[in-house]
Symmetry: C2
Subunit: 174 residues, 2 copies
DNA sequence: ATACAGCCATTAGGCTTCTAAGTATTATTC
DNA sequence: GAATAATACTTAGAAGCCTAATGGCTGTAT
């Protein structure tokens, strides 16, 4: 309906913001995310760490000894994903599983010295990638961009919540 | 460390842009992308189309009859990924493979009427998702955000290119 | 104390993407 | 025109993420 054709152009953004997000910002978000992930991956892979492990290590550097469920929530991934990641990290000697003695359902994850030591190596990698990424961008613009993204994130999460609350498969969009 | 703790706040961005990108913009980019993808996925899944197919359909609506390699380049994915996607789309009757008579190495992909018809159903879904995503965002801010993302994308791609040219595994970042 | 319900971790299986290796066709070179 | 190189698609196998179903432990109510 409101979509005015499919021709993409930088100009279109100023002319038709809504259509352009679909054609432009969405694409940009996707590509930007992939580029950032690829760059970081290239850096940390040098030290034997995969992206799948990176997020969990970050969470543990901040809060060691989390349970797997807590870890999942911090990182924003489902629990089976966490299990897989922990498995590989345990296998590589970055973390140790410890059954919680007070509640034997829980498993707390603790960094090994090796896992903790990675922080001083990996964090600078991330900072370096970030530095490169934002070269030539004015800090105020960076703030603006972050605000926009935060707003969009909120909008979409709100939408998902309400959609799930009502019927999950209707489409009276027209 | 430059990163001022793990507590995230909008303020930190203004104070320490570089560290904040790592902790903030990177995370935001990742979450934003995932939220957008999830929302769109929920919409188009209603019509039997997966995200894996969506990108290729978009490219074909714009340019029907592309070869698989061209399609891969348009969409930004590797060729084996394209093969898989085309397989499933062909199986569902959205596209048809046609060996190119002039160069029998090539395979041109053509939309079926069914695949072409999806455009009128799916594009509005994307527009709707985009509309929801940018609610409450001022168009100028949207433009700024897109510019920032574009700049970052360029920075990262440039970096990847030069890194590949030089040595691929040193880390004197400190 | 026993049964029922809820919480936590795991397993099973699918989807999407990637890299690396293989096959078929066309172009180039001697 | 036969050997070699380049091009286009395909197959094989791995990583990361997801949903759904399973198994163990805990807490509560009968």
């Amino acid at each position: 309906m409101t979509a005015s054709k499919g021709h993409e152009s930088a100009v279109a953004l100023a002319v038709d913001p809504v259509g352009a997000v679909d054609a432009g910002l969405g694409h940009l978000l996707r590509e930007g995310h992939r580029a950032l992930a690829r760059s970081l991956q290239a850096q940390i892979a040098t030290h034997g760490v995969s992206m799948g492990q990176w997020f969990f290590l970050r969470a543990l550097w901040d809060e060691d000894g989390l349970t797997q469920r807590e870890l999942s929530q911090r990182v924003g991934m489902m629990e089976p994903t966490t299990v897989t990641a922990i498995n590989s990290m345990e296998h590589r000697g970055f973390v140790r599983r410890m059954r919680n003695p007070h509640d034997r359902r829980k498993v707390n994850i603790f960094l090994t010295p090796k896992g903790r030591a990675l922080k001083d190596v990996l964090l600078p990698c991330a900072v370096e990638v970030a530095r490169i990424a934002v070269q030539g961008v004015q800090p105020p613009d960076l703030v603006k961009a972050a605000q926009v993204l935060r707003q969009m994130l909120g909008n979409l999460e709100g939408q998902m919540a309400t959609t799930l609350g009502t019927a999950a498969g209707h489409d009276e969009i027209d």
